[in-house]
């Protein structure tokens, strides 16, 4: 099976004042295309750092990170931005929609950056909105949407460009359990129907149950892996 993400001996240490804080200590694992994978672990275990490095938002101090066949350490800042735009979708814990744009405009944001024509953008976003239950909310701004609705818009934005990989950092952390379950349904459905690889971080056992594979982290190291279904 095609390898979507390859991590080999990845290290990352943050400097705070004069103190070194090791965030990742020799991470090794491979994510195949089409996986629905959870990075599990307590706060400070390195989940977010790992997602940031895989998404090219941050750089590893040592080791190799390959995404969609490209070695991220060899890419410039601009090249990493282009890789994110073309191959990755992001869903953040705090939704992170652009507050001055409507739900529709937020969802089509990355398509516009890719230069997709208006008609195709409209069809794409309308289809996604229908698929994930956002029809009728197109013209609302983020402040006029609930947390669950905002996170769905964020998922729509992440999926709009048909990315090979979606990285979601604790996507359900700010949602109640029913809304979180509904969002996971959406993500799972998109994973199945579009074949998109999902990697999401969580420390919620209910969310972990939904992943087909769970990689457990602790103190910046992989401490276990489970295949669930």
């Amino acid at each position: 099976m095609e390898q979507q993400v390859v991590l080999r001996q990845v290290y990352k240490t943050y400097q705070a004042e004069r103190i070194s804080i090791p965030a990742l200590r020799g991470i090794d694992f491979v994510v195949a295309a089409g996986e629905f994978l959870a990075l599990a672990g307590p706060s400070g275990s390195g989940k977010t750092t790992l997602l940031n490095i895989v998404g090219g938002l941050d750089q590893a101090d040592a080791g190799e990170v390959w995404v969609a066949g490209q070695n991220l350490r060899a890419l410039s800042r601009g090249q990493r931005a282009r890789l994110r735009l073309r191959h990755c979708g992001f869903v953040f814990q705090a939704y992170n929609l652009i507050p001055v744009l409507t739900a529709f405009e937020n969802a089509e944001f990355t398509l516009l950056l890719q230069g997709v024509p208006a008609r195709q953008r409209r069809e794409k976003v309308e289809r996604l909105f229908a698929e994930i239950g956002l029809s009728g909310l197109e013209d609302r701004r983020p402040a006029e949407l609930s947390g669950g609705q905002q996170q769905r818009v964020a998922v729509a934005r992440a999926m709009a460009t048909d990315p090979a990989l979606v990285l979601a950092d604790e996507p359900t952390a700010n949602l109640d359990s029913a809304t979180a379950a509904a969002l996971l349904d959406v993500m799972e459905q998109l994973n199945r129907t579009h074949g998109t690889t999902f990697i999401f971080s969580t420390h919620d056992p209910q969310v972990m149950e939904r992943a087909r594979r769970v990689v457990r982290l602790r103190d910046g190291q992989v401490v276990g892996e489970e295949i669930q279904r």
Partner: protein, 426 residues
């Protein structure tokens, strides 16, 4: 194109996230521009009035005289009178002038004017009355009697201050004593001559040097008195607009190149006035630069705040794939949009103020009662704004340029949004 439009949309909507801040900043920018326009309008209007009065009291926009007269002021440096006709013909063909001109021949000399009670040294100006009426300030400043005319009994026109000094009034008899000039052809020194005149007009210009010393007489009388019947000191050329000064001077220099003649523009002939205008302009520019700097700091502050408070949001945009240049473009667009708003307000206020001062004028007597004469000319007490299209466009361009330059730093800050720090991930 659509990408630019998206960035523009984001920028425009961002502005209205804090409407009060946006309006206040735009208002500050607008007031700065309005002040710039009103100040330039009043400054240019005041200078135009000063120059107009200066050239009408002096020797015109362009003066043609014997070479060396400007430096030496020697009375016997004369021109043949036909030069006036040559100048008239040259300007009549329209080349170099492009607008209506007036030409006035003059003969200047110094003399002693005596009344029954007193005597005073004077500058005698022999003029062609009809031509002088069209160009000089003095015919319009007559407060008693009438100005000279080509026909009728020759009178003498004197200033109010001189009339007071000599204790004369309209109809009083005065005696003008001068030394006949050295004949240009023979070089023979002239004898002392005197002639009796009746005061026919008294003028008040407000400029003491003119009101106390200048007298106007018909040109033929002065030529006869000085013994130079076919000679004049200078030909004063008056234009309907100052902008034609240089082309007219160039044209006359070409035509009169073979003569021993100097052709001077008013800044060359009235150096004190030209320097005053230059200095006043320079001072105004410094003041305006200070005002613009203050307004610019307000704009810079707003844009920096907009970037710093949206650090997280810019981080999200960067995470989604926006390039550093595109992040900078959002900030530049915001700054430009804010500037367009400010310029709109500024044009509204500035042109409104200009229109008021151009039609009603600024009455300086509200502020001061002091003598309004300086640098060899007089201020009109009511200042009228004059704003050319080029000055208007220049002002708007300066404000835009300032906004763009000041937006560079916040835009660079946005472009340098560092991931993942901007997302506060650790």
């Amino acid at each position: 194109m659509e990408r630019l439009s998206l960035l523009g949309t984001i920028a425009w909507r961002n502005l209205w996230r804090h409407p009060r801040r946006t309006v206040l900043t735009a208002l500050g920018l607008g007031l700065g521009l309005a002040l710039l326009l009103i100040s330039i309008g009043l400054g240019d209007g005041g200078h135009a009035q000063m120059i107009e009065n200066g050239v009408r009291l002096g020797s015109g926009h362009v003066v043609v005289q014997a070479r060396g007269y400007q430096e030496s002021r020697a009375q016997d440096l004369l021109l043949p009178q036909y030069i006036a006709a040559t100048v008239q013909e040259t300007l009549a063909d329209g080349r170099g002038a492009g607008q209506p001109t007036h030409v006035s021949p003059r003969l200047l000399a110094s003399g002693l004017l005596s009344s029954a009670a007193h005597a005073a040294g004077v500058t005698v100006i022999g003029v062609a009355p009809q031509a002088e009426r069209a160009v000089s300030l003095i015919p319009g400043k007559i407060i008693e009697g009438t100005y000279l005319s080509d026909a009728g009994h020759p009178g003498i026109v004197i200033g109010e201050e001189l009339a007071r000094k000599l204790a004369v009034r309209i109809g009083s008899r005065v005696v003008l004593m001068t030394q006949a000039l050295r004949q240009p052809q023979t070089g023979t020194p002239g004898n002392i001559h005197s002639a009796l005149f009746r005061v026919s007009g008294i003028f008040r210009t407000g400029l003491r040097d003119v009101d106390a010393y200048v007298v106007h007489l018909p040109l033929p009388q002065v030529q006869e008195l000085l013994g130079v019947p076919a000679y004049i000191t200078q030909v004063a050329v008056f234009l309907s607009h100052d902008s034609a000064t240089l082309p007219v001077a160039r044209r006359l220099r070409q035509v009169l190149a073979s003569e021993d003649i100097e052709v001077l523009t008013w800044p060359e002939a009235l150096r004190e006035l030209a320097q005053f205008v230059w200095l006043d302009d320079a001072f105004n520019y410094v003041m305006l630069a200070v005002i613009l700097a203050m307004v610019g700091l307000g704009l810079l502050n707003t844009m920096l705040m907009a970037v710093l408070e949206r650090r997280y949001e810019l981080g999200v945009c960067a995470a989604l794939g926006l390039q550093p240049g595109q992040l900078a473009a959002i900030v530049l667009y915001e700054s430009l949009a804010l500037t367009v708003l400010g310029v709109g307000i500024g044009l509204l206020l500035g042109l409104g103020g200009h229109w008021y001062f151009a039609t009603t004028g600024l009455d300086l007597r509200w502020f001061t009662e002091i003598d309004l004469s300086t640098a060899g000319t007089v201020f009109d007490p009511i200042l009228y704004s004059r704003l050319s299209l080029s000055r208007l466009l220049w002002s708007v361009a300066v404000v835009f340029l300032m906004a763009v330059v000041l937006a560079v730093y916040p835009a660079l800050q946005a472009a340098h949004t560092r991931l993942p720090d901007a997302l506060r991930v650790l």
